[in-house]
Symmetry: C3
Subunit: 363 residues, 3 copies
């Protein structure tokens, strides 16, 4: 897209796609290249290999909570630095592929551990985030090399879940009230802000809140403004990607409502964030966007939502959250199908850029 010889591109947007021209320019200045890698890492949480998208997502994080933003940055830098230290493949580092899991680790530990800003939590974030880079390699060995499937955010889940569990056995790292074993009790399905309060607003405003909080929750940002900023960041990279993030969050919310999920968690967007990335992944990122893959992506978002409900009971038994495991597992299943049928056009993993560019890939 940024290739100047591609004269057929009508609307030339300087920030769209993966911004290769800017990437090349940043390469000449190592510190700038590192910053660019990190920003792309934030974007990669939502598949956006684009520094401007990363910047908007960061803005969304800080809008929700400065501690969340800083913790995400710490994780991001630690994971990317670990990749440099291990001298991993440079082009993959530059694409942010060793940053996004660490960024999510930072956000997760900032959300579930207390107290905020404490040195020991920061130390723990650095250690676990760096570890996510190692697990990325392990997961890639099986998924990418042998099965030709993307690792998604599986490394983030695989390091964060035991790290959160460990806080139940280590007194010097404390977990907050969000980590508690699941207790079976009657479920109240009314969309509402907290367990006790009645929403003053209308149902439509509650739905609006849930929809955008769902987008924010992919990075633990429980605020409408964060969701809006993240959506804008996505749209910079890809209009198709942004659209399906929105539709995915909506699908998750509607499935949650239809099946009678718990109202407080629905209000806070927890039924939406997994479905959002599932829809995005299928309808454009890893499969070329067609009417069939669009439908398939929305079905995947719905399946992800049921997986969210089921895996949440599983992880809740141990007192931990489900993170993005429902997205990872369901999306891997839906993607693996493209290997056995010619009903979908899979994008080769090394060619993944943006849904719009995938439409121009030669068959």
């Amino acid at each position: 897209m940024a290739d100047s010889t591609e004269t057929h591109t009508e609307t030339k947007l300087p920030f769209a796609g993966t911004m290769p021209e800017w990437g090349n320019r940043a390469d000449r200045h190592p510190p700038l290249a590192f910053v660019d890698s990190c920003l792309r890492g934030v974007g990669q949480i939502l598949f956006a290999n684009n520094p401007v998208s990363g910047l908007f997502i960061l803005l969304g994080l800080f809008a929700a909570s400065p501690w969340l933003g800083v913790a995400t940055l710490i994780g991001l830098v630690a994971a990317t630095a670990a990749a440099h230290l291990l001298r991993l493949d440079r082009s993959r580092i530059r694409a942010g592929l060793y940053g996004y899991n660490g960024a999510l680790v930072g956000g997760a530990l900032a959300t579930f551990l207390i107290p905020e800003w404490s040195p020991i939590v920061i130390l723990y974030i650095i250690a676990v985030s760096a570890m996510s880079t190692l697990v990325m390699l392990t997961v890639s060995l099986l998924l990418v090399d042998l099965l030709h499937l993307p690792p998604l955010t599986l490394p983030f889940n695989l390091v964060t879940l035991p790290s959160l569990l460990a806080t139940f056995a280590m007194t010097h790292i404390q977990h907050g009230p969000l980590l508690a074993r699941h207790v079976q009790e009657p479920i109240n399905t009314t969309l509402r802000e907290t367990a006790n309060a009645v929403t003053g607003g209308s149902l439509s405003s509650a739905l609006f809140e849930a929809l955008f909080r769902g987008i924010g929750q992919i990075v633990f940002a429980d605020r409408v403004l964060s969701g809006v900023l993240i959506l804008v960041g996505l749209l910079v990279w890809s209009r198709i990607g942004g659209l399906f993030a929105l539709l995915g969050s909506m699908t998750g919310l509607l499935v949650g409502l239809a099946f009678g999920g718990e109202g407080v968690s629905e209000y806070h967007g927890l039924w939406g964030y997994n479905a959002m990335v599932s829809a995005e992944a299928i309808a454009g990122v890893f499969l070329v966007c067609t009417w069939r893959s669009i439908l398939y992506g929305l079905v995947c978002a719905a399946a992800t939502t049921v997986a969210y409900a089921g895996l949440g009971i599983w992880s809740g038994t141990f007192g931990i959250p489900v993170l993005t495991l429902p997205f990872c597992l369901t999306t891997l299943v839906f993607l693996s199908v493209s290997r056995a049928t010619n009903r979908f056009r899979a994008v080769p993993l090394s060619k993944v850029t943006s849904p719009e560019e995938h439409l121009r890939l030669p068959r």
Copy 2:
């Protein structure tokens, strides 16, 4: 076997083996071919790629409960239809390989969810069964393509377990009293029909009940008549297969009694159904039937029973049943051994038909 040139076959049974002649005839009429695929799918739950076996198993299901039978049919059709929709390999669809997991999903959800005949449960069965076809492809990618091991009923387990868990988080789909978290309490080992009642009958009649209920339980049919019908269906396909199903169920029951398992679950055949399919799989289906593989199959059935006990505690912690996971995991271990030793003759996955035909495979 149906090959007319094989004149050495003494007793020519028209319904035995995989009935390829009938299969070819059915191929000429698409609706008939679909029905044939579905019936073979029911048979494949017990490895019987044979429509008559499938018919008998269905009879067994309806004998136990019409709702169970209908739900199994719904799952079967949904999974097979999904395979058609995705244009998957036709010969595999015709062999029922995309139906058996869906059939089991239907039976499982009909058994554990309430109320019977409710539209939302039917809808849920359709969705989860169709999903089983996708998971079949994912599992095959790793097990069949890379490890040359059969997927068994792993896809059924992998979709059903989270789907059952999800009902704890979704009020509009209700689970019945069979889904409850395991509580540690004294175990009563007396074989008996219910937790409170004393069996009026003798021990030998209780053993007989347990043996045949064990066969029925593979499709959630908790009735002696169902077990008998299923056994007859198996014998149509293969006398060796039927014999080892019976011996497998018996092995499970005896191991359960020897180790002091819970009496009510033993009476209802729950210690037998996993062991049954393990014995069948090893002693004839995936290994050529020899004295050594017979012994090995019975050892596998015994190991499966201990795995059943152990995994039942694991799944019971979350409030869900263990389904056929003990069979899948244990049988995969026993089968993988045949790759490292020449003590057993493994049947290539593409040549699996019936134990009798495997005896005639060239070395």
Copy 3:
């Protein structure tokens, strides 16, 4: 090392390394070869393919408890005999690779099941240990053949965990008080012998106890003398290996203290045994010993300790111990990294002997 042409070896130790000369001599007498294979199997728990090391570890086991020693021997012999029965690769049997998992099974079941010396427990040890040989083949199919990673003690964990769980469902095999579901309660971090008693000794003596009990705990030997004997056995095989076992146990203990782990379990070495084998595996056994791999091995030991804490909460939810799962999973992650970077020199799996000999491997 035992090669007489290697004249550059200054200190020629007759028992060091893998003792190939002795191995060849034992080969001429089948019963002696079997004993040698078994002793190497005990050594392999700590990567020491050396019969003298195995003998010292056995001494350590008997020093802790004769029942523990005998049970380990039973498991060892059963697993090795199963490998002979299945006619598995002879050179692997001779290297003890089909014995170490069985030895650990024997020790684990002797530790967690009651009563001691009971025939049914002995029978159960024989069955589960033999099963470990089958699981070794399954695990190798994926890890060794496809991913070129060592199976470590994963087979031991995979058979023992469900076998322990099963005792909750089988009244004729009883588990002792060590198998109990984890209850969340305040954690006391003071290093102390039991939950109630105050250690009479000083902190430094408590640290010393914890350090050596940590070495012993790899084979369930909760006694300082056992730890010392095991360390001596290791040093016979490799000075580097022995050193990093000690440093690994120390790392585990220090990380446990730093993060505020539970004091009784720290005193009894439970925070050390996983970290010990992790350090050994990385700093010399599977990666060539360099300053970089030494540092990497200690980081791996620290990461293993956090994994120990986290996975312990996971397994404790079901009432079972975590065994050596933290070591297996963490070490596999750290080893897989060596495939994506040239910062470490991986020892090919077929060339693993002892850290000292690896230093002499041609590049």
